[in-house]
Assembly symmetry: C2
Homo-oligomer: 223 residues x 2
DNA sequence: CGAAGGCTTGAGACCGCTCAAGACCCGTGG
DNA sequence: CCACGGGTCTTGAGCGGTCTCAAGCCTTCG
């Protein structure tokens, strides 16, 4: 258990709460419900009427659309600072996504009614929500563009280039199956695309480790 | 030219501004820039650094991603009440979409800096922005689901069922080419899908007019 | 009446999917 | 340390839905 002081310091660290007064923060802390999720835990699932908006403080969460036979279409990988569960704010609050923790996560949950109050009392909180949602929009539009104008191998190349690298080594942060789904591909096609890029001498793959031999060449195949 | 009183009454009519005080409305009216767009006018285009957030008051706007050779991938058809141009609120404001009026439109434009002030001064405005963005999120997720789990004919059937009908007659509200793009199809495939549904006796098509003979049957092919 | 744009139709090719094995990886327990 | 086992990933073969390219048609409008 953490003391109130420790909690407060912790919150202050998140850019989410930058430029917030001590009083406002105190009030937010009262209505927010901090929670943690273990790897594979569901934050919410399609069909539930979760009435909470969430802020992800640490860890990664996968948003996906369930498909028949336990399959899924991954829509987003969320990172710390992201806001999600926004459908809880809508009148006919029907959740159509699954949200699953991909690792140990810390979250804040706000009841929809409290969100309304929070918006009125803490303008910078409202500001953060709006820019948070806007950021996600941009990301989704880029994904849509990718899926609708690029081939499988191009999408994979693009994804690889976006991953952080140490030296020329990138690491696939999630299961290949999940990444494939996010890119709108079957696992087999994802695998074959990696294989194709390898054959071109652009990368080499060993498990989740990908060595980027030729970033310029990778960029080039995006046309 | 309209008088201030007329303008004010007009604004009050929009659900967007429901429950707003007279003073707050007055202030919003000062910072908002009303504008109208003719059919085919661009509200903004990819690459511009439009610094405005928009609210669509009347008419329809098409959001799309430009593709080579003047082609496009339609992302959303916006209706009155929708909020868009949210990317202008982000730090590195790079617009990646095209926004085009599909008919005579009335809009409100808010400079990004004014939005920030508006959020602080008019909480219900912030509220409206957030729920407006959330609504668009839901719609986009449904589209993603559709594209990733349904066949061409199923997507077309789904789209037809969503259109308003008078009796059993629905009207395609936009060019078939644009609707096809929104559904993630080539125009040819859209045409053939309509043809396929016609052959099944579910609909008949004459130009933009579609007679829905068997809504239940249409629903049924979605499996 | 002619022209332009949008839509439809046809033929063919291809990319990614499906189904089915087999290989690999890695944690677990003997 | 090694063998085991479950899950993940890869590889192969073949199919098929959708795209591409190219005419032709139809409607609209000058």
């Amino acid at each position: 258990m953490q003391t109130a002081i420790e909690l407060e310091r912790k919150w202050f660290d998140f850019p989410m709460f930058a430029g917030i007064s001590r009083a406002q923060l105190g009030w937010l802390m009262e209505v927010a419900r901090p929670l943690s999720a273990a790897r594979h835990d569901w934050v919410f699932r399609r069909g539930e009427n979760s009435s909470c908006l969430f802020i992800l403080l640490s860890g990664h969460v996968k948003l996906s659309i369930p498909v028949e036979r336990g399959l899924e279409k991954v829509v987003e990988f969320l990172a710390p600072g992201d806001v999600f569960g926004e459908s809880s704010l809508l009148p006919g609050h029907a959740v159509i996504l699954d949200a699953q923790a991909l690792e140990e996560c810390e979250l804040l949950a706000f009841e929809a009614q409290d969100v309304q109050a929070a918006i009125a009392r803490v303008p910078s909180f409202a500001q953060q929500l709006i820019t948070g949602l806007s950021r996600r929009f941009e990301a989704i539009f880029k994904d849509i563009e990718s899926v609708s104008v690029r081939s499988a191998a191009q999408r994979v190349a693009e994804y690889l280039l976006r991953q952080p690298r140490v030296g020329n080594l990138a690491k696939l942060p999630f299961h290949k199956r999940a990444i494939a789904s996010k890119l709108g591909l079957q696992p087999e096609t994802f695998s074959r695309s990696l294989q194709h890029l390898t054959a071109e001498g652009l990368i080499s793959v060993r498990g989740a480790k990908v060595v980027i031999h030729d970033p310029v060449g990778l960029q080039a195949i995006l046309v």
